[in-house]
Symmetry: C2
Subunit: 399 residues, 2 copies
């Protein structure tokens, strides 16, 4: 349980949640606009906003326009006070922990890395508790308070099969974990309300609330790197899949015809991931270079220096990603797609081919889907975890 | 405007619509179960059901169980009276009109075909008006009334870009039409309230309300034939695509890598439709048989008789369809998928390969998606149009 805090975000009704979310993700915004966007009455918006103003989460900005005397109160926009509460986000990889402190709008205030020397659950929990303690000891911008004084929620992101509702890591291939009740272990040892989420889904939350997803009826986030995955958001809801699987763009079989498609670890053939994952790129690069010890960094350097066979390896990967994107967009029709992930750090070698293939294969007006391709610093994964912690404000027992 | 009919389905409130839809698609069902499934109170269900019973749309069945004296009224299930209203559905193809009369549950009562000798709008409208008149002249099962006495709504299904809201055919490739206000033309000449819908979407409505989609949180309908398309339904809503494109499983690039993928009419390469449409199958069959005049029927007959190269052509098409299904299911995760369409009439030549490929390429538990593969008689398309007409009861101005 979180430490008791009398003046925390007073999300006590669905209307309160709606008004606070609207200002949080779209503010500053006038009460009239909040009413228009949410379908609530102006009176209901004013009533719902008041406790947030009293608790310091929202403020009224000075109105830009002066209204004529007698024309009623000026329409002072409502704005979030981002430093009212801080959130801790931690991403767990096979090699390290990346932790951040963010404000209410998931803006990173400080970031720290910890190497992981073991995948033992106790070891990871202890390392995570240490990291959280270090993060909380930092000073808020006012200099007078530490983050600890205004942080109640921890978000943790991890790749694999994660049950957010119960806080259990059902399966983590990188850590070799099965059925680890990580959220409970961390709540006990940190005192913070802890929410666990799959890392791609966490990143999607950050994008949905504080990034490209704001204002989009539907969007997809695609991550490219060691694995290739995606998350689809439709009408504000993540598509989860009736059987627990959805968004597996890495397993769209773009080279599934004929016998020459590469085998994929999933048991299929010709999957995007079997062509464009970091591992697949390194394997292809070693093959074309005739150097079984070639590293990714060296392959990237040589491709950037103009090595044509190596450039072709990256172009092939970009082509496979572009085909996967076309499949996604032709089937699902999102308004926008964000392509990101550590693999996009070398996106100068990919981007042209991704865009060209996508343009060729997108069906009709599906080509109008906005395509944002950008690198993803590792801190962003931790920011996604923090965004999940922000979101946990709205799913607490208080509602 | 429909002819006035004092006792038509009294869908006068959202609660009335919810109760009627529940009994229509899931009945017979007790009031208690309707309340449980809809979240309405028992009193609200009883209140909402009464006008439908009075107007003859619903009835109370005799309760199967006798309750003890004093235990209150027995829980008589509510059931639809399917013959209370009839609906006309017409599918327009490039060659003919297929028309049906259905009851309230979209069960076909009579079907008729009319050849189309011209694609001229006036000609098609006249042929359609004649067909509707013939259909309406038929006798209802009671022998005493004609369908005309209880039919007020017409649904029309057509492939291509159709605007259901305005009733305009924006683009029909088979007819060569652009921006034809077909619903208005037909309302004027038939006196029936007319709803126009894309044919695959219409088929999806029939499946969603009266077929495999009943009770599924999400499902997809895939049609295979001259074209290959699909429709996705999530939480009862058709996924429409932010830019108007969604469900284009025919344009998933399953042979998009390498230079050997076949060109698709969409401008892309290696699309499912470029391998598995009827046209693509005939072209491949002609090539392997060395017979440029080979027909589909003859290719089917020879494949069924054991011609291995021709069997391989159908297996390749089945493989491409299976890959497209895997892409759909890995990305979207529907509970069930129905594969149908006129191309599935030869499904003995496809089905094994579709299932084998799907099983190999479905990612993890996505393989648990129920896969129904079945032929689609042409009347089913018209039934889909009638289901759209049934649905139009619920979107009238009366709500």
């Amino acid at each position: 349980m979180p430490r008791s805090a009398p003046a925390r975000a007073p999300i006590t009704s669905p209307a309160a949640a709606t008004v606070f979310t609207t200002v949080l993700t779209q503010g500053p915004v006038s009460r009239v606009d909040v009413a228009r966007r949410t379908g609530l009455s102006s009176a209901a918006v004013t009533k719902a906003a008041r406790p947030f103003i009293e608790a310091g989460y929202l403020e009224e900005l000075a109105s830009a326009e002066r209204t004529a005397p007698g024309a009623g109160r000026p329409a002072s926009p409502l704005a979030i006070r981002p430093d009212r509460e801080y959130f801790i986000g931690v991403k767990i990889t096979g090699d390290d922990l990346i932790g951040v402190v963010t404000d209410l709008q998931a803006q990173i205030r400080v970031a720290k890395h910890h190497p992981l020397t073991s995948h033992d659950v106790d070891h990871v929990v202890r390392a995570l508790v240490d990291l959280v303690a270090e993060l909380l000891a930092g000073s808020a911008p006012d200099g007078a308070t530490s983050f600890r004084d205004r942080a109640y929620c921890l978000g943790v992101a991890i790749s694999g099969d994660v049950d957010r509702d119960t806080g259990v890591v059902r399966y983590s291939p990188f850590l070799g974990w099965r059925d680890v009740p990580l959220a409970e272990l961390l709540e006990v040892s940190t005192g913070l309300a802890t929410t666990l989420e799959n890392d791609v889904k966490a990143l999607t939350v950050a994008e949905q609330w504080f990034g490209e997803g704001v204002g989009a009826s539907s969007f997809a986030l695609v991550t490219v790197g060691t694995g290739i995955g995606s998350a689809l958001v439709l009408d504000g809801r993540l598509v989860g899949g009736a059987h627990g699987v959805a968004g597996e763009i890495g397993h769209v079989p773009v080279a599934g015809m004929g016998a020459d498609g590469p085998a994929c670890h999933c048991g299929g053939t010709g999957c995007v991931e079997a062509i464009a994952s970091t591992e697949a790129i390194v394997a292809s690069a070693r093959r074309v270079a005739g150097d079984p010890a070639l590293t990714l960094d060296k392959a990237v350097a040589r491709a950037r220096a103009g090595d044509e066979p190596l450039r072709a390896v990256f172009a092939t990967a970009g082509h496979a990603i572009g085909l996967g994107l076309a499949a996604l967009v032709n089937l699902f029709g999102p308004e926008r797609v964000v392509v990101s992930g550590e693999g996009v750090a070398t996106y100068d070698l990919f981007e042209d081919q991704i865009r060209r293939t996508f343009a060729e294969q997108a069906f009709g007006s599906a080509a109008r889907c906005g395509l944002v391709i950008r690198p993803l610093p590792f801190e962003e994964w931790a920011r996604g975890a923090a965004a999940v912690a922000v979101q946990s404000l709205f799913v607490s027992d208080r509602l």
